[in-house]
């Protein structure tokens, strides 16, 4: 049974529903129920009819999380992302994580416009952004966020990226240039057809001259305005004394244009207005698609840099105050509630605490801390509220150290050289030499034809198809992977996949799910009774191993006199009988001769007998076994790099058949391992999810992470996998290989075409129409070939 709102399976024993169009629809949780009711009540049900149901929706935020939203009204925090307009309104751009389709955009806009005080709400579905403006006297930002949470969307302000604004301007200018090129090229082509007919029938010289003039009028904005990015690129390359594809493109465009203008004015020779206009249009299209793909990736990356309310609770002489983390000082005493992230490095002031450091160290189990132990910023407080004395803030924390390690690793990351620029070098040299030879040969035979034949050579060899070969294929793979829920941030994957030989994987959260589940059990009595007892008793524990056990039964037993022995287990009374659940040693206090079977860690017993044994494990991620097998088959060597303990890593490596593994690694040791492999000449990919993986992710030749990974890992990674399955690694490698193949076919075709038309042009046999036709056909062939990548 699927939840009506979020489309995820409804858990056993949940019996909630909403009324929709006269019938009861099942929902999975109170959150979904509340959201669906709000949507239906506000008569926005069209959302349910038009939304894209091929993707799972995120489960909405739970109501008790809503209180935190008030923090966003804090003026200190608002300074960073709210803009005041002249007319007294405030404007902010928010990122909304779980927008999946156009229907979401409609729903959000409709819901917000109901609020009093909202001026404008515009959703951009592609970039998952909401731009909203409101009057601060009538409405608070937290109200807007709460209204969004009410319909199941989590909106957060984010740190705007300057590069993004630059992309925005660039994209708009490209649209304009493309529009001009498109409209003008159509006119030039129309007139060119008139001129082509003039070849076979009579065309008065006056009319021909008039049509040439009109073509000149239309082609001029294309060459002088639309084609500017190519000239700029060529100039930049020359200034940096490099060669790129823009240089031969610019030579061909400007050369053919000047000669055509000269021809029009003097009424001699040939004109190439239609060739160069079409050429500009095709190339601009390729560039534009490339730009869109890059911008999209960048926007996604920026969306991750959300501004969380970074506030801490500091103890003052007589109270607790809420202050920005930036304002904390060493020596302050702060309070951290259960489930909160610890804001600064410090010393524990409570007798004991459990903190989850898995994101920082890769350790899968929470660590027990005693009075005076060091607490690291970025770890999560598991149980009861704690007090911490701050010992390091902001730049001095362990977390900040990892971030700076990541930054420096990113700076020295090996970047694949652009193949296309290498080809461009040879290409320019060849064209120029051949053009010069052609000119002088004709000068010697028939001087009056020398200029026009040379020009025909330049136009015919114009590297249109060649310069489309790479960008169209690149855009193809970006779209293809996007559709499969894989986000590519750059083109590095295409270069590095060629030499790829080692794939390093993190353990906790990458090869495993990072969550404990019941794997195996052994019952001595009826399992139902055991479930009843175990789930009842484990409800009193907050240990991560107990979570899956407490959900075993729909109707947990109601225990009394429950006591919790730290690090051992629980004891409780039910119907006059005393039960225990916990470690082997804890049970042995009652049954000294008892020995747990191999790997079973949680035991249930009554005073009289041992009832059952459980094995709870951090489960291996979906698709891990197949992926590892596939990697080995294709002679990519998988290696585990984990911060977790030797025994757990060893066991997993054995289970998955991975020969090489390294355990207990600190972030800098992971980084050192990959660096060493790279120095030995290996191409290393890294898959990881934690903060401790982010430096090595930045250093690896290519890195992948999951969309639920830490923000730092997502910033560092080149590829973000949206789905939770490891099989996506295989998809990335296969797609990249396929794209390389398509790209090579494109290059081959473009070169073969250019080389074969060259001699024909050099002997003066290529008329302007033939040059235009040949160039368009070869470009379309390249585009068509790249379009194959879009298909499944």
């Amino acid at each position: 049974m699927e939840c009506f709102h979020c489309l995820q399976p409804v858990p056993r024993g949940v019996n909630l529903s909403v009324e929709y169009k006269g019938s009861e629809k099942p929902v999975c949780c109170a959150g979904c129920q509340a959201v669906a009711e709000t949507i239906i009540e506000h008569r926005l049900h069209a959302y349910y009819e038009h939304r894209d149901i091929s993707q799972l929706q995120e489960t909405p935020v739970l109501p008790d999380e809503l209180n935190d939203l008030n923090l966003y009204d804090h003026p200190d925090l608002q300074k960073e992302f709210v803009r005041h307009e002249g007319d007294g309104t405030e404007v902010a751009t928010l990122t909304i994580e779980n927008i999946t389709c156009g229907a979401c955009g409609w729903l959000i806009e409709r819901e917000l416009m109901r609020l009093k005080g909202i001026h404008k709400a515009i959703v951009n579905v592609t970039s998952r952004r909401l731009q909203v403006s409101w009057s601060p006297e009538e409405l608070k930002l937290s109200n807007i966020l709460r209204a969004l949470a009410g319909i199941g969307y989590k909106a957060l302000p984010f740190q705007a990226n300057e590069a993004e604004q630059q992309y925005e301007r660039q994209r708009k200018s490209y649209i304009r240039r493309l529009g001009v090129a498109g409209i003008a090229t159509m006119q030039v082509m129309m007139i060119a057809f008139g001129l082509y007919f003039g070849v076979v029938s009579d065309l008065s010289p006056d009319l021909q001259r008039f049509l040439w003039g009109v073509s000149l009028v239309f082609a001029t904005p294309v060459i002088l305005y639309s084609a500017q990015p190519f000239y700029a690129g060529a100039l930049r390359a020359i200034q940096a004394s490099r060669l790129n594809m823009d240089i031969p493109v610019s030579i061909a465009l400007l050369g053919a244009y000047s000669a055509s203008v000269y021809a029009t004015i003097t009424n001699t020779g040939e004109v190439y207005f239609e060739s160069i206009s079409m050429f500009t249009f095709f190339l601009l299209t390729g560039r534009f698609l490339e730009l869109l793909a890059k911008e999209r990736a960048l926007k996604f990356a920026t969306n991750r840099l959300t501004l969380l309310p970074k506030l801490a609770s500091r103890e003052t002489d007589d109270a607790v105050e809420s202050i920005a983390i930036k304002q904390l000082n060493v020596g302050d005493i702060i309070r951290v509630k259960a489930g909160e992230t610890i804001p600064a490095d410090g010393e524990l002031l409570n007798p004991q605490a459990q903190v989850d450091e898995s994101l920082l160290t890769g350790e899968s189990l929470p660590r027990s801390k005693k009075l005076g132990d060091a607490i690291i910023a970025g770890s999560i407080n598991q149980h009861s509220p704690i007090r911490v004395k701050v010992t390091a803030i902001a730049q001095q924390t362990v977390l900040a150290g990892i971030i700076s390690m990541q930054d420096s690793a990113l700076a020295v990351k090996p970047r694949a050289q652009q193949v296309i620029d290498k080809i461009a070098g040879y290409f320019i040299a060849a064209i120029l030499i051949i053009a010069v030879i052609t000119f002088f040969s004709w000068w010697w035979i028939q001087p009056e034809h020398a200029l026009w034949v040379t020009l025909a050579v330049l136009v015919a060899t114009c590297p249109c198809a060649l310069s489309l070969a790479a960008p169209t294929a690149l855009t193809g793979i970006i779209h293809r992977l996007n559709r499969d829920g894989i986000l590519l941030k750059g083109a590095d994957v295409l270069e590095s996949v060629k030499q790829l030989d080692k794939v390093c994987l993190d353990k906790t959260g990458t090869l495993t799910e990072g969550q404990f589940r019941l794997v195996e059990r052994q019952d001595s009595i009826d399992p139902k009774t055991v479930n009843h007892i175990v789930s009842g008793l484990e409800l009193f524990s907050e240990h991560p191993l107990s979570v899956p056990l407490s959900q075993l039964s729909d109707a947990p037993a109601k225990f009394t006199h429950v006591s919790n022995e730290m690090g051992a287990g629980l004891q409780g009374e039910l119907d006059g009988e005393v039960y225990r659940v916990g470690s082997e040693r804890f049970i042995q206090q009652w049954h000294p001769e008892f020995k747990a079977l191999n790997k079973y860690q949680v035991i249930v017993a009554s005073k009289k007998q041992v009832l059952a044994q459980f094995r709870v494990e951090d489960q291996v991620r979906d698709g891990a076994a197949e992926t590892i097998e596939w990697l080995i088959e294709n002679s990519y060597e998988p290696i585990i790099l984990s911060g977790d303990s030797e025994s757990r890593v060893h066991e997993l490596a054995k289970e998955l058949g991975i020969a090489e593994y390294h355990s207990g690694l600190k972030p800098e040791e992971k980084l050192a391992f990959v660096t060493e492999q790279q120095q030995l000449g290996h191409t290393v990919w890294m898959v990881g999810d934690g903060i401790n993986d982010s430096p090595v992710l930045a250093k690896a030749d290519l890195s992948m992470t999951f969309s639920k990974a830490s923000d730092l890992a997502q910033t560092a990674a080149d590829v973000v996998l949206m789905s939770e399955s490891l099989n996506q690694i295989k998809v990335v490698i296969e797609s990249a290989l396929k794209t390389r193949k398509v790209m090579q076919q494109n290059f081959t075709w473009a070169l073969v075409y250019n080389v074969s038309i060259l001699p024909v042009a050099a002997i003066g046999m290529v008329a302007p129409w033939a040059a235009a036709l040949g160039m368009s056909l070869s470009s379309l062939l390249v585009i068509g070939n790249s379009l194959r990548l879009y298909r499944k």
């Binding site: 229907a103 409609w106 970039s127 649209i175 529009g179």
Partner: protein
Amino acid sequence: MSVIYALIPVAIIFVIIAVAIFFWAVRSDQFEDIERQGLNILMDDEDNKADDESDKPKR
């Protein structure tokens, strides 16, 4: 054929107008989120229909 000498300049003027309108459209952000606008018309239509239905009992 001499009419072409008048018609083509007229066509040029039309093209200039078209480009001007296009530039205006780009400037007023009409190319920002192309993916989504196609759906909008559908949604609002449904909404009106739903409004009509729910209005009926009141009349």
